[in-house]
Symmetry: D3
Subunit: 145 residues, 6 copies
C-alpha cells in the first residue's frame, strides 16, 4: 500500500505521450486563430503551464515519485471547434513518466479553459488519455483508436 | 492582456461546481468497490489530492488569482464502468472559483488514473466540465445536460 | 467529511501559540551556544524555516485553509540539554491558526535536528503542542502545565 | 557553512526509519477506531500527507538536498490512548534520507492532530525520532529503546 | 525581529511598480524581434513566469506575507541592446506589494536570460528597482531618475 | 521549441558561479554591520533564501529542468555602500546549473532588499550575472571584468 518501491527497477529511458481534447466551440477557435483572446496568447500560456505542471506532478499526485525529467514537450492541433493538446515526456528513471504526460496535458487544457472561459462557459475537456509509453519492464504501449 | 484586474469587483460569495468522469472499465470498478487496488484506497486518495489541488490552483494556472477558499468538497459516484468526480468550491472573493473546482476535479481524476493504471492502460478521463457557478456580476450558470 | 466550511464563521482576530521541545543533549547545546555547528547558525535557520513553514501550512496539511497571515513569530529558549521552540501566529480570518503555529514549531524543530544531527543521531523532538488559542466561537484555550 | 557538498560521496542505497507518537487520549482513539471523526479517515489522511511531506522535505528544511526518492512508506499502530506513526524512506543517493523520514513522521502527526483537534485541544505530538538508518559512510544506526 | 505584524495596519489599495533591465547585446535583441530564439517566444515566457513569481513571493522571500493579489501586470520595452521589464502589482491588503513587483521583475528577467543564454553567456540583469509605490501609511514613493 | 531535450547529453560535474550587487547606500551598510536591522540578521536571511531559491529554480523558470543539486553556496562581501552576493552551485547532471546560481543570487538580493527597505526605498539590485561555468559540452566560461 502507498508508493510503489522502485528501488529494484532498472534505470531505462522512459517515454510517455498523452493528449487532451478541449472542445471550445467554433467562435472561440476563431478568436484563438485571430489572436483575439483578451487575456493573452492561449497556446503559449497552455504550453508553458503544461511544461511547468509536468515538473510539479509528484507534488500534485500523492503517490508519484519525484523524477529528474529530461524533456517535456507540449504541442497543439487546432481544429474547427476544439484544440488537441499533445504532450511527450522523457526521462532516464526507475519508473515511468505517464503521470507527467497526463498531468501536463490536463493542466494545459485547464489553462486553455481559463483563458477562454469569458467567451462561453460551455467549454469541456474531453479525452485526457495516454497515447504511448515505452521503457521499463512492461514494454511498449500504444493506444488503439 | 495578462491577469484580470479584480480590484474593482465586489467581494461576494462565489460557488462553483465541476465534474470529471473517469472511465476505468468494469474490472477496475470491481476492484475499487472490493478495495483491491494495491496502492491504496482510491477514492480517499482522489479526494485528498483534489482538495489539495484546489488550493494550488493559482500555482498551476498562470493567470489565476490566489484566493482564500472557504470550502472545497470532493465526492464520487461509482458506476458500472466509470467513476464520476464531483467538486464544489466556495469563497468570499472578488473573482470566481471555477478554476479551483475544475482543477480539483481534474487532479482527483488523475489520481484515480494513477492508482488504477497498473490494472489497464486504457483508462480515460472524460468530460471535465463546469456544472454550476454563482456569485459575481454574471450571475448563475447552470450546465444543460 | 473533508474541509470544514468556514464561510459562515465570522472574521475575527485569531491567535495561536505552540511549542516544540528538541532534546539534543548537552554537547550539542554547548556547540549551539558557542556557534560551533558547521552547517550554520542553528536558531536563525530554525526561525526562518519555521516562519516559511507557517506560510506553507495549507500545502502540507490536507484540510487546512489557505490563510492570509498577519504575523508569524518564532523564538527560542536554550536550556542545558534542549532547545524549546515557541511560535505565535495571528490572522484576521474565519478560522483559527493553530495548525500554522503547530507546523511552524514542528518544522523549526526539524531544522534544528537537521543542522545538529552530524553531532549525534539521538536527538528527539518532544512535546509539540498547542499552548494558547484565542478568537473564534470556542473562545480562549490555555494549556495547563 | 550552508549545505553539505555531497558531490564526492558515493551513490548507495539509503534507508531511514522514523516515528512520531501522537497522544490523543482514549476518546479520540475510540472515534478513530469506529471511524467517527467528522473530517474523514484520519489514518488515510495522515498517510497521504506524510508521503507528500517526504517529497517536499528539501522545500521545508533549508539545507536538505532535493532527492529522487525510491520509496516512502507511512504506517500506524493504534494504541489505547495514542497513535504511533512509522515511516520508512529509501533512495539511491549521495546523501541520507533521515530528514525525509523525520519530516514524513512529523507531518503525518500534524495531520492526525488537525483532524482530531475538534474533539480536544490537549493532543500532543511526542517523540519524533529516528529509529534506523543505513547506507553511506557512517554505516548502520539503530536507536536503543 | 522576524515578520512585521501587519494586524493593526489598515486594509487599503496598494500599488507597486518595479523594473528590471536585461542587457543582452544587439544580436540577441535582433533574434527576439525576429522570433528566432529556439526555446520559444521570449517575452511571453518572461511575462508568464513574472506573473507566476509574483504569486510565489511569500514562498521565496522569507519574511513576506502571503497576500491575495488583485492584479499583476508584466510588460516589456525592447531597446537596441536590452529589454526592460516593467511590472505592476495591486492588492487590497494590510501591507505593501513592493516585493511582489520586484520579484516579478527579477524572475521575468531570469527567464529572458534562460531563453537567450545559448546565444551568449554575457547577458546581465541590471537595475532591478522599485519605480513607484502607493497605499499605506508612508504614502506615495516615486523613484527619481 | 520548449525545454531542451537533455537525454543525450552526458552526466558530468557541472559548476556555476553567479553574483548580484545590492546597492543599499552607506547608512544601511552601517546598520547591517552593527546588526541593527529590525527584521533580523540580513545576510543569514539572504543566504538561506538564496539556497532555497536554487532548489526552487525549476519551479520558477519555466524551461529549467528539475535537478538533484550536490551543493549550493551563498556568501557575501560587504562594501561601503553595497553588498555583493556570490553563489556557487554544483551538480552531476546532464545540463548546466547556471540558472540555479543566477536564481540563488537574485533571490538572496531580493531578500536583502526586503529586510532593508524600511530604511530607504532607493535600494537597487545591480549586475546579476554569471561569473563562471564548467562541465558539459561547451567547456569553461569565465566572465571578463
Amino acid at each position: 500500500m502507498g508508493m510503489i518501491d522502485v528501488g529494484k527497477k532498472r534505470v531505462t529511458k522512459r517515454t510517455a505521450k498523452a493528449k487532451a481534447v478541449v472542445r471550445t466551440g467554433k467562435d472561440i477557435i476563431r478568436r484563438i486563430k485571430e489572436n483575439r483572446i483578451a487575456k493573452g496568447d492561449v497556446l503559449e500560456h497552455a504550453r508553458i503551464s503544461g511544461i511547468m505542471a509536468a515538473k510539479k506532478t509528484s507534488d500534485i499526485i500523492p503517490l508519484c515519485h519525484p523524477l529528474p525529467l529530461d524533456h517535456v514537450e507540449v504541442s497543439f492541433e487546432v481544429f474547427k471547434d476544439s484544440v488537441v493538446v499533445n504532450t511527450m515526456v522523457t526521462a532516464r528513471t526507475r519508473t515511468g513518466v505517464e503521470m507527467e504526460a497526463m498531468t501536463a496535458a490536463s493542466c494545459a487544457a485547464l489553462t486553455i479553459y481559463d483563458l477562454c472561459k469569458m467567451y462561453g462557459k460551455g467549454i469541456e475537456i474531453k479525452d485526457v488519455c495516454l497515447l504511448y509509453k515505452s521503457g521499463g519492464r512492461t514494454g511498449v504501449f500504444k493506444r488503439k483508436d
